[in-house]
Symmetry: C2
DNA sequence: GAGCTTGCACGTACGGCGTACGTCCGTCAA
DNA sequence: TTGACGGACGTACGCCGTACGTGCAAGCTC
C-alpha cells in the first residue's frame, strides 16, 4: 500500500480539515503530521514554516469561492451574487475564517475576487476611484458580518441564552439593552446579511444617481 | 522603594503596553511578568489564565472609548460621533485591535457602546427590531473597516509598494486590478471610513423614509 | 554495474510556552 | 506567642515550532 506522496497540497488540505474539526487553536505541526501519518519534520520538505502553511490555508479557502457571474445581468444583481459567494465560505469553512481574515495575502487567489468585483463596478459605469472605494466598503461590511456570524467578533448579543435572567443592575444601567434583550439574543444571520447588503446596494445606487 | 503591589489592573496595563510595543504575537505570561519585574506564577494570583487576561485586555481597551454624546443633536450626527469614537481605539491601540475583535465579552464594558447606540436609534424613532438590525450593520462595517485599517485583513491592495513592477502575467489575468493598481496601493483610511459611514447613514435615512 | 548526486522522510534536541503544584515568608487576629 | 492566611516565587510537565544531521532510495554519468 504505497501511500500517496506528501505534498504541499495534501498538507494544506489536512490543515484545513484539522481546523474545521477541532478549531483553529488546535492546529500544530505535530497534529497535522500525525493526521497524515508522517513525521513532523517531513512537513518542512514542502512548507517552509507554519506561517506560510497558514497562508496556504487562507489561499486555499479563498480559492474555493464559487463565482457564478452573469455578464448580462444588472450590476446590482451581480454584486449581490458576488457578496453571497463570499459568504458561502463562512459556511463551508467557518473555523478557518479567522485564519483567512487575519493574514493578508499577495497571491492570485486573493486577487481574483477583487478583479471580478472591480470589473463589475467598472462595467456599471463607475470610475476607477469610485469602484475602489465602493469595493473597500463592501469588503469591510462583508468581513465584519462574517466575523459576527462565525461568532468570533463581539456579537454584542451579550449573553447568548443567558440574558433572560439579566440581573437587576443590568436593567438599571442598560435599559435599552435589557428591554431589547430578546432581539439581541437571536439573530437570523442570513436575514441580517441580506438586510445590510440591500441597504448598501441601494445606497450605492442613490450615490451614483446623485453624482452624475 | 516599595513597588506598587501586583494587581489585575497593573497586569492588564502591562499586557496592553507589551502588545502595543511588540505586537500581539509577542505576548506571553513570561514576558509580562518580566516587564513587571515579577515571577511568572505571581500573575496567577490575580488572573486565572492567559485567556481571561486577554479578555481583560479587550475589556480595558473597549472601556477607553470616549463618547461625547450630545442628546440634542440630530441622530445622524450622534451616530457619526459614536462611529468615530469607536474608530479612535484603532488608532490608540492598533495592535490590540485584533485581540478585542477576536473574543466576545459579556461584560459591562462591551455593553456600554451598545446601550448608547440603541438609545440613539430608538430616540430617532426606530423600532426595536430596526434599531438592532441597523446597529448590527454599523458594527459589521466598523469592525471590517478597522481590521483593514490596522492592516490585518486582506487589504486587497495586493502589494503595498510592490505593485509598480507587476509582472506581465498579472496584467493579463487581472486587467482591472493592474490598471487600478495605483488606486489600490494607496488608501486614505480616514476618507474611506467617512465615505462608507456617510453612505450608510444616508441609506438608513432613505430606508426609514421609505418605510413610514 | 560502480560511484555519485539528489530528494525526501525522519529522529533528536533546543528554547520557549501555559500552568499545576508546593514552598516560603510577611502580616495580622486571638 | 501562635496560628492562619494571602501572595510571591521556583520547579516541573507536557506541549509548541523548528534547526540540524542521518539514512535510504531513485536516477544520473562513466
Amino acid at each position: 500500500m504505497p501511500t500517496e506522496p506528501l505534498s504541499r497540497r495534501r498538507i494544506v488540505a489536512a490543515a484545513i480539515g484539522l481546523i474545521e474539526r477541532e478549531g483553529a487553536d488546535a492546529i500544530s505541526m505535530r497534529r497535522i503530521a500525525a493526521d497524515l501519518g508522517v513525521g513532523v519534520m517531513s512537513l518542512y520538505n514542502h512548507v517552509p514554516s507554519k506561517d506560510v502553511l497558514l497562508d496556504g490555508v487562507a489561499e486555499a479557502v479563498l480559492s474555493k469561492i464559487e463565482f457564478t457571474d452573469d455578464p448580462d445581468a444588472h450590476w446590482t444583481d451581480r454584486v449581490r451574487l458576488q457578496a453571497r459567494a463570499f459568504r458561502q465560505i463562512a459556511h463551508h469553512y467557518p473555523r478557518s475564517l479567522m485564519v483567512v481574515v487575519s493574514r493578508q495575502l499577495h497571491s492570485a487567489a486573493g486577487l481574483l475576487p477583487v478583479e471580478r468585483a472591480l470589473a463589475t463596478l467598472r462595467s456599471a459605469g463607475f470610475g476607477g476611484a469610485d469602484a475602489v472605494r465602493i469595493l473597500r466598503m463592501f469588503i469591510a461590511y462583508i468581513v465584519g458580518s462574517l466575523l459576527r456570524e462565525v461568532g468570533v467578533t463581539p456579537t454584542f448579543a451579550p449573553v447568548h441564552t443567558r440574558m433572560i435572567k439579566a440581573d437587576s443592575v443590568d436593567a438599571a444601567l442598560f435599559p435599552e439593552v435589557s428591554s431589547l434583550a430578546p432581539l439581541l439574543d437571536e439573530c437570523d444571520h442570513e436575514a441580517e446579511f441580506e438586510f445590510g447588503l440591500e441597504l448598501l446596494i441601494q445606497a450605492i445606487v442613490a450615490h451614483s444617481a446623485r453624482s452624475r
